[in-house]
Structures are given as C-alpha cells and as structure tokens.
Symmetry: C2
Subunit: 327 residues, 2 copies
C-alpha cells in the first residue's frame, strides 16, 4: 500500500474517517436508553457535520442480555434502525459493534442487502483473536465492511501485540484499531504504538484506527498524535460521552481537522439544542474525574472507578489504597 502523506497542520488528507461512537460507547453510560428523537437529531447532526460513520450500538446476544433491561441500541435490530432512521439516504455510513463472545453473529447478523448497516466493528481482547477473525470473515462474506478493535492494549506485551497484529493482517478487516480502554497511555507511548500498527497496516494494506479514553484527560491529545502518525480512522463521541471518563470529544476533533468537509457548527447546534444536557439531567454521568485518573495511572479497568462515582464516594485516598491492594 502506498501511504498518503500525513499532511501538515494546515493541510488535510482525504483518507481520514471520523466515526461517531456516541450511541455505542455512550450507551454504556445509560444502558442504551436514548430516545428516538435524540437518535434522529444526532443522526442529522452527524450527517450534516460530515461524519463518515455513525456507530449505532451493539449487536448483543439477547440470550446473554435481558432485553427489558436495555434500550434498543444494545441490540441494533434492523427493524428498529429503519423504524427510527428510515433508509439511510445520506453519505454517512452506519456501523455496529459486535463483541466476541457476546454476539450470536450467525443468528443475528443478516446479509448486507437486508440491512441499513454498512460496517461491523468487531471488538476483541487479545486472547480471542481467532474468534474475532471468524466473525470478521463472516461479516465480510455477508457484504459488510469490517474493522477490528483490539481492546485494553495497554495491558499487553509487545510480543503479544506483534503476534495479534500479524494475525489480523491476514483478516478481511479494513482497519485495525488501537484501543486504549484504560486511558493509560501517554502521547509518547501512543506514538510508538501508532508507528507499530502503521507498519503492519502498510504491510497488509490495512488502515489503522484510534479509540482513546479520557482517564488522564488525554483522549483528544492521543487521537491527534495518532493522526500525525498516519492513523486515519478516528473515533469520537459528542461531549466525549462514553464509559467512565469517556472518549475523545467529537467537537474537539472536528475543531482540529482541517478538511472542509467537516463542519463543526452542526455538532455545536446539536449541543446548543441541549440534547446532551438532557442526558446529564436524566442522571447519565461521564467524563474525567479523579478516580479515573487513578485507574488510568495504574493501568486498570475503569469499573472500580465507575462504581466509586456511582456510590458518590468522596474518599479518594481509600480508593487509591483499594486499587493498590488489588495487585
């Protein structure tokens, strides 16, 4: 693959794709209970803003998740998507995440021709790569674009990462994602990782993606560092909505990107209309806070920090000691 020049702070490169993951990662905050109006308004805002892909949620297995306990975007049924959004007549493509081990893909994923979805994003830990490849191949054969998101990469050794990337190089995935699930990586580590992924990407003709978390307030910084390294698939969410400390904010990212196809004003309008504030008023809590800083520093899953916030605890030093006790 001939790599497109990475560009400068003034130029832009056409290969960049922005993926809005608000419904999917944000759904982890509110159990996917977004109103139809919210989803329609976000869809319209994203399409107008030039967002390339909108991720609608998960294709979760109803045998594993009680449907009465989640909103419809946890399952992303074709009928529900069409019911809310109609047939997608915009330039923007629609994506859905499928977790290895939590998706009955042979039963629930239909042929591309019968679905408004364009892309499946297969999320995997490093120890389930063969299962991920099986899913990627399945979705690819059905006619979908695919990407693969290797989660919690800050926990993996260099050797394991190298092996995983080699295996994924032979998969049909269009893009391989760096996923900093724990928000543990500093920009200088991110640059090293991005260079490694880009090397594999160049070798196998894959794009590289970045999905960053904001535990140390670095999600945006890490994302734009990846852009400078040649990473083209960029995940973001409105107001950074996402599990725990959340993600790279879409408004920050569109403010940075120089391609005139991206129009920040439409995301600003969506914010001005108060859609995100309504979610917060309804009890959804996300964003950088002290306990996330600590799980980020210690390279841990954010679950304990999410619990700390939920329980409205204010004993941050006890929390730090608990984290250290878990070693």
């Amino acid at each position: 693959m001939t790599r497109e020049a990475t560009g400068t702070l003034l130029s832009c490169r056409s290969g960049i794709k922005v993926i809005d993951a608000t419904l999917r990662d944000g759904g982890l905050v509110n159990d996917f209970r977004f109103s139809d109006d919210f989803v329609r308004a976000l869809f319209a805002a994203n399409a107008a803003a030039g967002v390339d892909y909108m991720e609608l949620g998960y294709k979760a297995d109803k045998d594993l998740f009680d449907e009465s306990k989640f909103g419809k975007w946890k399952f992303c049924r074709e009928a529900d998507i069409i019911d809310v959004l109609g047939n997608n007549e915009t330039e923007m493509k629609l994506a859905c995440m499928a977790d290895v081990g939590r998706c009955n893909f042979r039963r629930d994923i239909c042929e591309k021709g019968s679905s408004p979805l364009d892309m499946y994003r297969v999320a995997t830990y490093i120890n389930t790569i063969p299962a991920a490849i099986e899913m990627l191949e399945y979705c690819d054969k059905l006619g979908y674009e695919t990407t693969v998101n290797v989660m919690a990469i800050s926990k993996e050794t260099e050797k394991e990462t190298d092996l995983a990337l080699e295996m994924l190089g032979h998969s049909p995935a269009k893009a391989i994602y760096i996923v900093d699930s724990y928000g543990a990586l500093y920009p200088e580590e991110m640059r090293v990782l991005a260079a490694k992924y880009m090397e594999v990407g160049d070798k196998y003709g894959k794009q590289i993606g970045i999905h960053a978390h904001n535990n140390q307030n670095l999600a945006f910084a890490n994302t734009i560092e990846c852009v400078a390294a040649g990473v083209n698939y960029l995940d973001a969410t409105v107001n950074g909505m996402g599990r725990g400390a959340g993600n790279c904010a879409l408004e920050l990212l569109l403010g940075f990107l120089k391609n005139p196809k991206y129009k920040l004003v439409h995301i600003l309008r969506f914010l001005e209309e108060g859609h995100m504030q309504k979610l917060r008023d309804g009890g959804a809590v996300w964003g950088y806070d002290l306990p996330y800083l600590l799980t980020g520093i210690f390279n841990r899953h954010p679950s304990s920090a999410i619990r700390y916030i939920k329980e409205k605890r204010a004993d941050i030093i006890d929390f730090m000691n608990e984290l250290l006790d878990q070693e």
Copy 2:
C-alpha cells in the same frame, strides 16, 4: 550548559521543578479571595507533595487596582504572607508574579533578605520585553531568583519570538517560559516551540518553562510534551484552577512525573478535604467548556468566553459568529 538527559517514561530527571500556580492563576477566577485556611492547607499540601515552588499571587500596584475589590494575594505584601504562612521553613520556595506595567516594583519589591519570597516571575507581552528585562535585573539585584513569562506566544511571528528569546537570553532570568495564554497550540506545535526555546536555553544557560491553558483540553498533554523536549519548569494548578478553561492540573502532572520526591497523595488529600469544591460552591467557575474551545481554535484571548460563561449564555453558534466578526 550541558543538558541533562531528558529521561524516559520510567526514569526521572532531577532538574524538573513543579510550580503550583493555584493562588495566582486561580486568583484570576475569584479575585484572589482565598481564605487563610485555604492558603495554609494548600501550602501544607504542596510542601508535603514535593512541589518545588508555590506561587502566592501577584505583586500588583495598588494605584492601579482598588484594594477593596481584591483579596490580599493580588498584592502579596510581605506582612500578609508572614501573617498567614509564618516563616517558610519547608524546602518549598515561594514565588510571586509581577506584571510589566502593573507593578510598581521600585516601590513595592523589597530586598530578598526582608521577604519570605524566593522568586519573582515577570510576566510580559512580547512588545514590552525591555521593561521586563529592567524588572528582571532589578529583582535579581535584590537577591531573588527570576523567571520571565512571555505571554500569548501563539499570536507571535517566528521572527518576533526569535528576537525576544535572544534578548531574554542576556537577562538574569533563570528560566524563560512558553506561555500558551490562549490555549491555542496543539502538541505538535508545542514540540516545535519547545525545541526553539531549548536551543536558546542551551545557548544562554537558561531553563525553559511551560505554562499551558486548557481551552482545547490540551494543557496536560502540552505540558508533558514539553517535558519530553527537555523543558524543566512546569506550571500546574490544583484541579486546573485558572482563568477561563484553566491550566494543567497538578494532580495529572504529579501522577505522570516519576521522581519519587513527588507525592500525589497529598494533593489527593487536599482535594478529598473539599477545599476546591468549596470554591466552586462559592461561585468560582473554571475549566474546559465549549466557548473556550472556540477561542482556542480561533487563537483569541479567552475574555469573551469568560463573559459568555458568566452571563450563562447558551447560544454557542451566535458566540462563534461574534468571534468571527471580530476579525
């Protein structure tokens, strides 16, 4: 000057100095009305955390600022400092900022021997460098350490910056600061600027400092990028308290630095005790928000964004148009 190796993510370098600017930059949020208890608790926390310098406020000219309208830390009188903090018997040094044109230094700055202050930080715009040098020389002769903070550097041309740095190379300032007053710089720009400053620092035996603002949520990221480039003087404030979008958060910075002399737990305890929350409850507002993102993107002084927040406006698109009209 032989430059100390910049270190790796696992090592540390002894030349690094952390400056807590909570009272000084944070004072711009609440007109310096910090209670004596707050100041004592912060002083104790900083000293225990291994912070190298604590900046107490400004040495402002009472002929220019009505004393009844500000707390005492706007003026940093020696008697007030000693009244609240006693004689400083910690390892931590005390600093004070003096603005060019807003400080009657010949009248108000006394000999080092009669003051608990150790360092003056002279803040200047690029067009008042000769006046800044006069103040630096004055403070130096009185026995103080000095640094110089060249503000709003994102607005200056490369040629002006080069000229300013050459002039300051001949001043007695121990450190020359990169000050991103508008929070407009991206990490890749910051790296270029840091390299330029470091070159002058190496030539004239000066340290380089970084004072970042958080308009684009990049204050911490830009600060640690500067660390990687060899910048040693690092400004931060607790909870990022500072004008507008605020600064690099001290808790993020201490969580990153690897020198065991820095002990994050003491800042966490200060936060746990609720001192910062009390300021917020009392009406102090700071931190990243949409209007700051826009002044950051457009490289503008944050004053209009501060006004927007103060007036509790919610018409962000009108605000963006106002910014564009100002060109």
